[in-house]
């Protein structure tokens, strides 16, 4: 496969389908990517053939991805296959709409695969709410020892730590941080599923959880329950 030395090539596609390099031209693309661009931004039967080929490719990647994730999902059989086809169809729309934004930083197919992988993720996240294991606002504290591998035989040792964590959650987290932490950590709601129920996006929810983790760590460290964050000591 083409290696990383060609990363950084910048190629854009004009409205009429011509390639505009800034400052690199299409020649910097590998031949296969250049051909994809040429065909998809062209017209007529060549474009139709390229679209069919792209769809076939996306279906293959989507099916492979749902198979890869399948064992960890509560989705099986034809439903999983449907999900793959839907993801491929949605990715197809996104790619054809955004082909002009392909900048040649990778092979075209790698860029295209990214769309279908994201679509598989989003559809799996949506599927969670069809049959959620717990209500969003529940607080399932009993699952926490198992979540972090605390052994029942040593409960006397970790009970204080978990009580301190619970206190810190009440004292240092904002309501939104607490809501996100409870959903993801206590109730095991997948982050992508929480994104949907809170009408948010992955980046915002991750950032909220990131800030919650940081604040809880500081609070626990201040009271001697855990050590200082090694990534902040340098």
């Amino acid at each position: 496969m083409p290696g990383w030395p060609y990363l950084g090539s910048i190629v854009t596609v004009g409205e009429n389908g011509t390639l505009r390099g800034t400052p690199v031209t299409a020649a910097r693309l590998d031949a296969e990517s250049a051909e994809w661009l040429r065909a998809l931004t062209g017209a007529g039967s060549q474009r139709e053939a390229a679209l069919a080929r792209l769809h076939e490719l996306l279906v293959r990647i989507a099916r492979g991805e749902v198979r890869r994730r399948g064992p960890r999902l509560r989705i099986t059989g034809p439903e999983l296959d449907d999900l793959a086809y839907q993801a491929a169809a949605d990715a197809m729309l996104a790619i054809t709409a955004k082909v002009g934004q392909f900048r040649g930083e990778s092979r075209f197919t790698t860029w295209a695969y990214k769309f279908v992988i994201f679509d598989v993720s989003a559809k799996i996240g949506r599927h969670f709410w069809r049959n959620p294991a717990v209500p969003l606002d529940a607080e399932d504290w009993d699952r926490l020892p198992g979540r972090f591998g605390f052994e029942p035989a040593q409960e006397a040792e970790w009970r204080d730590l978990l009580a301190a964590l619970r206190r810190a959650m009440d004292e240092v987290l904002t309501p939104r941080q607490r809501q996100v932490f409870v959903a993801i950590v206590l109730n095991d709601v997948p982050l992508d599923s929480l994104v949907l129920s809170l009408a948010s996006n992955r980046n915002a929810i991750y950032k909220t959880l990131f800030d919650a983790r940081r604040k809880l760590r500081v609070a626990l460290a201040a009271n001697g329950y855990i050590g200082d964050d090694p990534s902040r000591s340098s």
Partner: protein, 73 residues
């Protein structure tokens, strides 16, 4: 108590972490660099830090890498 290190790890945050938006934007570049045996982590330490901490983005990265490998093997 075996769980303390796991809780410790979970609560640890890496200041280099670029977040989901940036990681998703460059995931195809990063995955291809990894697949080619290039210095992905050195070139993009913030993405590497993010993929270690973010389950969904890590899962997407694994899937994309598998897709790229499927093309090349």
């Amino acid at each position: 108590m075996n769980g303390r290190p796991e809780l410790d790890r979970f609560l640890a945050t890496d200041p280099r972490d670029v977040g989901c938006a940036k990681a998703m934007e460059l995931l195809h570049v990063y995955a291809e660099l990894v697949a080619a045996g290039g210095p992905a982590e050195q070139r993009y330490p913030g993405i590497a830090a993010h993929l270690r901490a973010c389950g969904p983005c890590g899962e997407d990265f694994d899937g994309l890498l598998a897709a790229v490998h499927g093309d090349t093997h």
